[in-house]
């Protein structure tokens, strides 16, 4: 089982750019990019909560557990 990040979907739905999200949440644009591509080892609850607040969504909208191919 692996965790897939659906941040790009939420950003598209909310019509927000990665750069703007990074600025509001307080992390670098590079980290947003790494998060979108799933190349991070984890996400702090604080960061997740801020992203959910900005994008007006739930953690389940951003993270999905899928079976490994």
């Amino acid at each position: 089982m692996q965790i897939v990040v659906r941040l790009d979907v939420m950003l598209a739905l909310r019509k927000m750019k990665s750069k703007d999200l990074a600025q509001i949440v307080g992390i670098t644009e590079q980290n947003i990019s790494l998060l979108k591509s799933g190349k991070v080892k984890g996400i702090r609850f604080e960061t997740l909560a801020k992203i959910c607040e900005v994008l007006e969504c739930q953690p389940g909208d951003l993270l999905e557990a899928v079976e490994e191919a």
């Binding site: 992390i27 980290n31 790494l34 991070v40 080892k41 984890g42 996400i43 960061t47």
Partner: protein, 178 residues
Amino acid sequence: MLYDPRLARLARIMNVGVWVGLMSLPLSFFWVVFTDGLAAAALSDAFSEIHISPDMPLATGVAVLAVGSFALIAAMAALWHMHRLLMCYQSGEAISPRTARIILRIGQSLLVAALMSILSVPIQTVLLTLHNPTGQRSVAIGIDTQDMGFVLAGGLLVLIGWVMREAVGLAEDNAAIV
């Protein structure tokens, strides 16, 4: 990155001390050479526990100095690595693979300096008494508090270097968490 500006400031101050050590160690070495410190009389003062023949050739004095230089070189290597570490701290680099490696090198250099210091005493005393009449040759073995200090400090820094390597791994893992 270092967040406390005091660390960079202290590193800068300590670097001055390290440079003084790096300059003064070879200067003291050359001072011995150029102030007749290799002569039998001068060496008798330095090695008061053994009898040195007044007919000891200068080449023996040079050999004694050469043996003693190994510990000096190792000590200078430790100081050089300290300089490299302090330069990293000055630039804000604290927990990195490079600083972990340098700390390990400082520890290893101090251990080598202690070992060379301990080994040099018997070798030097054999050389110094080689020209004595039969029955008046001797070998001295000694470990002083400075040697013990180098062993403890060196061993501790080797351990800290290994721990820093683990810390670097943890820091890299932490950096991968957004």
